[in-house]
C-alpha cells in the first residue's frame, strides 16, 4: 500500500550564527542580515517522509508559508526528492503567531486533499516553540505524535512509531491520518541529488516570475509584462517546474483567523541580551592566587 505524505518546512534565519552586523542599534535582530537556511529539524521531517515513499510508494508534497524567498527551501525539497511543492504566500498572513500559522497550514492541507501522513520538524530555530505541529493536528482533527524517532511498523491504515520523550521512549500505535513531529535524531538526511539540482534549479513560483520579468523588462508596459509572465509560467508548468503559489483565498482561509487579527499573542517588548559587565574578581593563574580564591569560598561557605 502506498502512502501520501505532506511535509511542513520553514525557512529560518540562521540564529546559531548571529554576528554583530545582524544586531540593530536598538538591540533587535535584523532578520534580513542573517543568512536564511532550511530549518534543521524540517530536513529530518522531509527525510522521514521520503523514506516512507521509497519503501511503500506514494508521494511527498512539501508546503511552506512565507515570503517568496522561501521558494529556496522548496527548491531544496525538490533537489532532495519531493514530488510537489507549494508556497503559501500572502501579505495578510504576516505577523501570524503559532495559532494563526497552524490554522493557515491546516487550510492548505485541506486543499491538498487526501493524505495519510503529515510531517513537521520538532521545532524551528527562530522561535523554538514546537507549537505549530500540534496546533495543525488539532485544527485538522487528527491525532499527533511528537518527538518521532523511528518508524516501527506501517501496514494498512495502522502505524506504529517510537517517540523519544527525553527520559525514555514510547511506542504508540495510531490510525491514519496522523501528524508527526520529527527529532533530528530520527535519521540521516540525504543530500541534494545532482541530477535533480540540474533540473529543478529552474523551478519558480508565480511571484518570483513576476519579479524576474519586472527586473528584465523595465521599459515594458504592465500589459506586456503580464503577457510575458503568463508565457513563462505556462512554459514552467509544461516542464513540471512550477512552484505552486497559494494565497489565503486559495486555501479558503477565514481572514479573521489569520495574521495579526488571528493571533492572540502580541509582542510587547523585545530586548537584546546585554552582558552584565559588573566586573569580576580576577585571579592570577598561580598557586597563590588560586589558593586565595579557594580560601574566600571556604570563608563565605560556598565550599565545605
Amino acid at each position: 500500500m502506498a502512502y501520501d505524505s505532506i511535509v511542513c518546512v520553514k525557512q529560518v534565519p540562521d540564529t546559531a550564527n548571529i554576528t554583530g552586523d545582524a544586531m540593530k542599534d536598538d538591540g533587535t535582530v535584523n532578520r534580513s542580515a542573517l543568512p536564511a537556511i532550511f530549518n534543521p529539524d524540517d530536513l529530518h521531517a522531509l527525510e522521514a517522509a521520503l523514506q516512507v515513499r521509497d519503501r511503500f510508494g506514494g508521494t511527498v508534497t512539501a508546503i511552506t508559508m512565507g515570503p517568496l524567498s522561501a521558494c529556496e527551501v522548496l527548491r531544496d525539497c525538490l533537489y532532495r526528492g519531493a514530488d510537489r511543492v507549494i508556497l503559501v504566500n500572502d501579505r495578510r498572513a504576516a505577523a501570524s503567531d503559532t495559532l494563526a500559522t497552524g490554522y493557515i497550514l491546516a487550510q492548505a492541507v485541506r486543499k491538498i486533499g487526501n493524505c495519510d501522513l503529515i510531517w513537521a520538524g520538532r521545532q524551528a530555530i527562530d522561535g523554538d516553540t514546537a507549537q505549530v505541529g500540534p496546533q495543525m493536528a488539532e485544527k485538522l482533527g487528527i491525532p499527533q505524535v511528537t518527538y518521532f524517532e523511528a518508524l516501527v511498523d506501517l501496514s494498512g491504515r495502522t502505524i506504529r512509531v517510537r517517540r523519544n520523550v527525553g527520559n525514555g521512549y514510547e511506542v504508540l500505535e495510531a490510525r491514519l491520518p496522523i501528524l508527526l513531529t520529527v527529532l533530528d535524531s530520527a535519521n540521516e538526511t540525504r543530500p541534494a541529488a545532482a541530477k535533480r539540482v540540474m533540473r529543478f534549479k529552474h523551478a519558480r513560483s508565480a511571484g518570483e516570475i513576476t519579479n524576474e520579468v519586472a527586473a528584465n523588462m523595465p521599459a515594458a508596459s504592465s500589459a506586456e509584462k503580464e503577457a510575458e509572465a503568463a508565457r513563462l509560467l505556462e512554459k514552467l508548468r509544461a516542464a513540471g517546474l512550477r512552484i505552486e503559489q497559494w494565497s489565503l483565498d486559495d486555501v479558503a482561509a477565514d481572514l479573521r483567523r489569520c495574521g495579526m487579527s488571528g493571533s492572540p499573542t502580541k509582542v510587547h517588548r523585545v530586548q537584546s541580551i546585554v552582558l552584565t559587565k559588573e566586573g569580576y574578581t580576577e585571579i592570577p593563574p598561580s598557586e597563590e592566587g588560586v589558593g586565595r580564591m579557594i580560601h574566600e569560598l571556604v570563608v563565605d561557605h560556598t565550599l565545605g
Binding site: K139, K266, H268
Partner: protein, 342 residues
C-alpha cells in the same frame, strides 16, 4: 477561548508520571502563588490520572488552594487527546485567567493542542512571568494586570515579552528549573475537588504499546556544586581533569554542547538552552566560551568561576571569579588548593 476574566484563578497543570509529580509542577506552584497573590485570586491545579489523589497534598503544600482532580483509567498513562479533553473542559467550566504548564516534553505536547482547541494564545518556554499593564500601540487602550510572558527568542539572542489581552486564558509553558523550587508547607490547607469528564464518546485513536523510562543517572539539578567542561578541554582524556575537580569538591560534572558534540562526555551532562538549566551554589566553567545558549542554563548560579585563556571570552561577563589561563595548569592547582584546605 474564554472572555477576559480578571477574577479568574491562576492554574497550573500538575504533571505526574508513575505517581510522582514532576519537579517543574512544584516550581510552577510557587510562581502561580506569587502571581495569584499579586492579582488577589486563588491558585488552582489540574491533576489528572488514575489513583493519584494523594499527590494533591503535595500541591497544596506548595501553594495550591484548589486541586481539580480527574481520574479515569484512560488517564493512567499520558496521551495527548484524553488529557487535552480534561484541561479544555475544565477551563470552559471554571474560566481561569492564567494556565501554566511545564515546558517539559509532555507540557510542550499538550499545551499547544489545548491552545488550538480553545483558540487562545500560548507562549512557549518562558523563563519569567510577571503581572503588568499593556497599552495597545494603535488604539492606546490600556489592559491592566496582564500576564507578561517573558522568553528568549531567536536562539537566545533576544528576550521577548509577550502578552495576550483578548483571547483567554493566558497560557504559557515555563522552562524547567528556572523558577525556584520552594520547600512546601505541609500545614497549608486547600480543597480537593473531584471533577467528572465525559469519556463515553471518546474514540481511542492512539494506543500506548510500550513505555520505557530510564533512571536519570546524572543529577545536575540537585547538585550544589557543578564543574563544567567545554570545547576548550580538548579531548576525552583531558576531561578527566573535570571529573577529578568535581570529585574533590563532591560536585557533579556538567558540559557545554561543544564538549558533548566532541564526544568528551554524554548528552545528559549538557547545561544550557537545550540541556539542563541549573542554579547551584557554585558553577565552575572550564574552557567554556560562554555562548548565550550556554549562559541561559547557568547564569543564575550563586557563584561562578570561569577558567579560560581568552580574556575576551563572554563567560567572564557572568563570572564572579575569573582566571585567565590554561585550564590544564589551573585545574591541578585548584585540586591541590582544595586538598590543602582539608
Amino acid at each position: 477561548m474564554i472572555e477576559p476574566n480578571p477574577k479568574g484563578e491562576v492554574w497550573i497543570f500538575a504533571e505526574q508520571e508513575d505517581e510522582h509529580l514532576s519537579e517543574t509542577s512544584l516550581e510552577l506552584c510557587s510562581k502561580a502563588r506569587e502571581l495569584a497573590d499579586r492579582l488577589g485570586v486563588k491558585v488552582g491545579a489540574v491533576l489528572a490520572g488514575w489513583n493519584v489523589r494523594e499527590l494533591s497534598y503535595r500541591l497544596i503544600a506548595h501553594g495550591v488552594d484548589k486541586v481539580y482532580y480527574v481520574y479515569d483509567t484512560l488517564l493512567e498513562y499520558y496521551r495527548t487527546l484524553p488529557y487535552a479533553r480534561v484541561v479544555c473542559q475544565l477551563i470552559t467550566r471554571h474560566k481561569p485567567q492564567i494556565v501554566l504548564f511545564g515546558a517539559t516534553p509532555l507540557g510542550r505536547d499538550l499545551a499547544p493542542r489545548i491552545a488550538s482547541e480553545m483558540r487562545s494564545g500560548l507562549t512557549a518556554d518562558c523563563t519569567d512571568l510577571e503581572i503588568g499593564d499593556y497599552t495597545e500601540p494603535k488604539t492606546k487602550a490600556v489592559h491592566k494586570d496582564l500576564l507578561m510572558q517573558i522568553r528568549p527568542a531567536f536562539g537566545g539572542n533576544i528576550i521577548a515579552t509577550i502578552v495576550n489581552f483578548d483571547r483567554w486564558p493566558q497560557m504559557a509553558t515555563v522552562r524547567e528549573g528556572v523558577m525556584p523550587l520552594g520547600d512546601g508547607d505541609p500545614r497549608r490547607s486547600g480543597q480537593i475537588i473531584e471533577e467528572k469528564i465525559e469519556f463515553s464518546d471518546f474514540e481511542q485513536s492512539v494506543r500506548l504499546i510500550e513505555r520505557v523510562r530510564e533512571k536519570r543517572k546524572v543529577n545536575l539539578k540537585g547538585a550544589r556544586i557543578i564543574v563544567a567542561g567545554g570545547g576548550g578541554v580538548g579531548s576525552k582524556e583531558n576531561f578527566k581533569l573535570i571529573h577529578d575537580l568535581a570529585g574533590v569538591l563532591g560536585g557533579a560534572v556538567g558540559a557545554s554542547r561543544a564538549a558533548v558534540d566532541g564526544g568528551f562526555i554524554s548528552k545528559e551532562h549538557q547545561v544550557g538552552q537545550t540541556g539542563t538549566t541549573v542554579r547551584p551554589a557554585l558553577y565552575i566553567a572550564c574552557g567554556i566560551s560562554g555562548a548565550v545558549q550556554h549562559r541561559a542554563g547557568m547564569e543564575e548560579s550563586a557563584k561562578i568561576i570561569a577558567i579560560n585563556w581568552d580574556k575576551e571570552a563572554p563567560i567572564f561577563g557572568v563570572a564572579h571569579y575569573g582566571i585567565v589561563g590554561d585550564l590544564t595548569k589551573v585545574i591541578p592547582m585548584m585540586i591541590r588548593a582544595i586538598r590543602e584546605k582539608e
